[in-house]
Amino acid sequence: MRVVEKSQLMSATEVDRTLQRLAHEIVEKSGGTTNLALIGIRRRGVPLARRIAQAMRGIDGVEVPVGTLDITLYRDDLSKVAAQPVLQSSDIAFPVDDKDLILIDDVLYTGRTIRAAMNGLFDLGRPRSIRLCVLIDRGHRELPIEAAFVGRNVQTSDTEIIEVRLNEVDREERVMLVERVS
């Protein structure tokens, strides 16, 4: 399988601006940060969650707790994903009970990752609410899941892939639309 880059959807500056806007939106819709906690989904949801938390500190001056969640154990397609599954550690150092959680990921596609993440969170306790925040919503849902906070909606076809590159993981920062060519 080969992939070719079709277009750039976001530059580093645009990613940053979008995250600032999302942080403001979350704080506004939540009436502050009092009961909030952010959960970044491994891998690229984790740096996004950290950056949104940092932006919130700029807005409210408050440190919002950030946790990370690995969804490997909750996938419904484990045997389709990789020859050898590898579990990364989840790190949620605060009780999720009665918290208003914001689940953060880079791309919302079928919704299966989010379904798995919610299962994982419920094993840890009973949050008061869970809302979803994504950098890109590309459509093609297979489950009844929607994001409350969306960086950008992108129309895509089945053969296209959204590639989010972040400094912390990929040592470069941009969002691209690429296409699979067989």
Binding site: T72, L73, L78, A82, P85, L124
Partner: protein, 319 residues
């Protein structure tokens, strides 16, 4: 770096890199033992066959619990009531189990090499849960996980193994595992239980008859169970063993102040270990049990959570 595993027959053939990967994976499974809800659906629909041809309580319960927490079902073969008593061969018994289509067989047997013998003749994944005096790989992994948690690294530790080393598969697996990380070993016990051949494994091993000498400067002390059924060969009075080799607070005082005490269980208080040591702050006995779950969950996950080898690695193309 992810590693592929089809069987877990012993520690000896593994590389330090593979062991480190298994320990890292086990680390991730430790968290789950602290969750309010411990049951996952990860291996839902998978079946683990527990074939214990030798009596075992803790290892069998540990594997059964590990499978249950991952959502897998278990089928249980108990040697005492099985057809082995009626004269069926080992291979026929295991073939019968295999025909019920489990995804993995966990096997304990009194004959060294039995799991490997069976693994070579069937297609199914095999985990060795202890074979004769050969290996007990999951015990060595859980010991290493426990040591790494408390000491932060395995490299270069002084490890003293105390007791019946001759008959101990735990000692052998631990030598192979910790030896690959550059640990130095002192083996101590009555002379008839200190086989010379362990000096030839390629690890720094010394054999010492006096417990006091063996404990001096130890970072880790692994106390082995005295298998009383073995004491008659040749005769060694129990009282004499207690007098010379029991790990007492006084003897423990000769080791490093932060030395760890491990015991694979079942532990006989007042025989190989003094109750004050067994319950003391340096004892890791119960941590070992909890870590056993994490190690066994990690192994089951890696062995049967994986896809067929030819499936494409599509992990990151998910969106």
């Amino acid at each position: 770096m992810p590693q592929r595993f089809r069987h877990m027959l012993g520690i000896e053939p593994l590389s330090a890199e593979q062991i480190a990967f298994l320990l890292d994976q086990s680390k991730s499974f430790q968290d789950i033992q602290r969750h309010p809800l411990k049951k996952l659906a990860t291996l839902r629909g998978k079946t683990v066959a527990l074939a214990f041809f030798e009596p075992s309580t803790r290892t069998r319960i540990s594997f059964a619990t590990a499978a249950a927490r991952l959502g897998a079902d278990t089928m249980n073969l108990q040697a005492e009531v099985s057809s082995l008593r009626k004269g069926e061969s080992l291979l026929d018994t295991v073939r019968t189990l295999d025909a019920m289509k489990p995804d993995c067989i966990v096997m304990r047997h009194s004959a060294s090499g039995a799991p490997e013998f069976v693994a070579g003749r069937l297609e199914i994944s095999m985990i060795n849960a202890g074979d004769g005096t050969h290996e007990h790989p999951t015990q060595a992994l859980l010991d290493a996980l426990t040591i790494r948690d408390r000491k932060s690294a395995l490299m270069g530790l002084n490890v003293t193994i105390l007791g019946d080393i001759l008959h101990s598969r735990v000692a052998r697996s631990n030598l192979h595992l910790l030896g690959k990380f550059g640990c130095r070993f002192t083996l101590c016990g009555p002379a008839m239980w200190l086989p010379r051949e362990l000096e030839c494994l390629g690890y720094p091993v010394r054999r010492v008859a006096r417990a006091e000498e063996a404990l001096e400067g130890a970072d880790v002390i692994i106390v082995l169970r005295v298998q009383q059924e073995r004491l008659h060969e040749p005769a060694l009075p129990l009282e004499e063993y207690i007098l010379l080799y029991q790990l007492t607070p006084k003897r423990l005082g000769l080791a490093r102040p932060d030395a760890l005490v491990l015991h694979p269980g079942p532990m006989i208080r007042g025989l190989e270990i003094d109750p004050a040591v067994a319950d003391g702050p340096q004892s890791c006995v119960l941590e070992q049990v909890t870590n056993g779950l994490a190690v066994r969950m990690a192994l089951l996950f890696l062995l049967i959570g994986a896809a067929s080898a030819d499936s494409e690695d599509a992990a990151d193309a998910a969106h």
